[in-house]
């Protein structure tokens, strides 16, 4: 999911940067003193999750947990994902400084969209919450891969086939993320319901 340095055109890089900056500003405004610690724990989870890779097809895919971040944090997932991606760049050399904005936008924007779509179901107990969690995990990966494909495609039309391939290879990940998000949310709902209230209403 991390686009490397030197692949995208400047206009895409700037667009991504602007989106990431705006999202981070909104997210920081919504962040309260009481939530800081919970947010940082979720940031650590996101930071580490990308190291868990699932060997599939010609390459390998790794967990993103964007849906989980979105459901639990809403707009706050922007600063959380930005920090996590920056540290992944520093420590693991994934992505790069120039594409940090684009990578943040492709992962955080779908998470925010999903969190708004499924918020009403998420607030209800039982099956509906599980369904919302699954859908959120599934859809956030789908939207992320579409955004990434669009970013590549608008840089170079020759990337069309590769762009479509990206979406196709992410399909198994959509199911995996959906299931993981579902179990995590139902586990959190059982043992620590406060965790589900981080996001401002």
């Amino acid at each position: 999911m991390h686009i490397s340095e030197g692949v995208l055109s400047p206009s895409i890089l700037i667009t991504g940067g602007v989106v990431a900056f705006a999202g981070t500003a909104i997210g920081l405004k919504k962040l309260d003193y009481d939530k800081v610690m919970n947010v940082s724990l979720l940031t650590s989870t996101f930071f580490v999750a990308s190291l868990i890779h699932v060997p599939l097809g010609p390459g390998s895919i790794h967990l993103i947990l964007g849906g989980l971040m979105g459901l639990l944090l809403g707009w706050i997932c922007f600063p959380a994902i930005l920090v996590a991606l920056f540290l992944q760049m520093v420590f693991f050399q994934y992505g790069g400084l120039v594409v940090l904005g684009v990578n943040t936008a492709t992962m955080a924007l779908p998470a925010v969209i999903c969190s708004y779509l499924f918020r009403p179901w998420f607030l209800q107990n039982g099956k509906k919450r599980q369904a919302a969690a699954f859908a959120c995990g599934f859809l956030s990966v789908l939207l992320s891969s579409i955004l990434m494909a669009l970013a590549l495609f608008s840089t170079d039309r020759g990337f069309l086939q590769a762009s479509l391939l990206i979406i196709a290879t992410q399909i198994p990940l959509m199911f995996i993320e959906g299931i993981i998000t579902m179990f995590t949310i139902s586990f959190l709902a059982k043992v620590q319901p406060e965790f589900l209230q981080i996001r401002a209403l």
């Binding site: 999911m1 991390h2 686009i3 490397s4 340095e5 030197g6 692949v7 995208l8 962040l31 309260d32 003193y33 800081v36 610690m37 919970n38 947010v39 940082s40 724990l41 940031t43 650590s44 989870t45 930071f47 580490v48 999750a49 990308s50 190291l51 868990i52 890779h53 060997p55 010609p58 390459g59 390998s60 895919i61 790794h62 920090v83 996590a84 540290l87 992944q88 520093v90 420590f91 693991f92 050399q93 994934y94 990434m148 970013a151 590549l152 990337f159 590769a162 762009s163 391939l165 990206i166 959190l188 043992v191 620590q192 406060e194």
Partner: protein, 204 residues
């Protein structure tokens, strides 16, 4: 409450230990080394899988000119004979790999690194050899010198063969994989940032 606080800590830590043995994710890597006149490149994804059919571009670093291009085979290897121009003008090479799906990486190969062994290949000049004492038998002498030349060549080629895997593993080791220290360091930074944020938020 005790249960819930422990959960907060367990979630990230569990993930750390889950992935430790196979801690690589999606990133393309490239290594290059010189082996008896050709430059060999190996590409793989950070999971350790070979990057098949990835595009390789060799660029002259001194003037950013493209020297040659190619694609990797099914094992992720691509090798090319060192271009004459590069050999003569001692170009530093920048070997770029792109998998076409947004992953790209490069490897810098300094002229000194791939030309070093090349310069040594021609046999030692006769002046540096111990002055041959003229033996009584002319025939015996000629056999002797040929042997010495051959010996140098044999040693060179054997060394080349034996050193190739070492060169490869040296090249691979230059590219670090994420270690437990990196992961824990990153989590430490996140908690530190959280502390700073909490401090500023508490002042309001």
């Amino acid at each position: 409450m005790k249960y819930s606080t422990s959960l907060k800590i367990i979630l990230p830590i569990l993930l750390v230990f889950l992935n430790c043995p196979t801690s690589h994710a999606h990133k393309i890597r490239i290594f290059a080394w010189e082996e008896s006149g050709t430059i060999k490149t190996e590409t793989q994804f950070s999971s350790g899988r070979a990057a098949k059919n990835a595009a390789i571009t060799v660029i002259n670093e001194n003037n950013n000119q493209e020297l040659l291009t190619g694609t990797t085979d099914s094992r992720g290897f691509f090798s090319f004979v060192i271009p004459k121009a590069a050999k003569e003008n001692q170009y530093d090479l920048n070997i770029v790999v792109s998998s076409g799906d947004g992953h790209k990486n490069n490897w810098h190969l300094k002229a000194a690194d791939y030309l070093e062994t090349q310069e040594n290949v021609p046999p030692l000049p006769p002046s540096s050899l111990p002055a041959p004492q003229k033996p009584a038998n002319e025939h015996e002498f000629s056999v002797c010198t040929v042997d010495e030349e051959q010996l140098t060549r044999i040693i060179e080629s054997t060394l080349e063969k034996k050193l190739a895997p070492i060169k490869r593993s040296l090249a691979i080791q230059q590219d670090k994989k994420p270690s437990l220290q990196d992961i824990l360091g990153g989590i430490g930074y996140i908690l530190g940032l959280a502390g700073i944020t909490a401090y500023f938020k508490s002042k309001k």
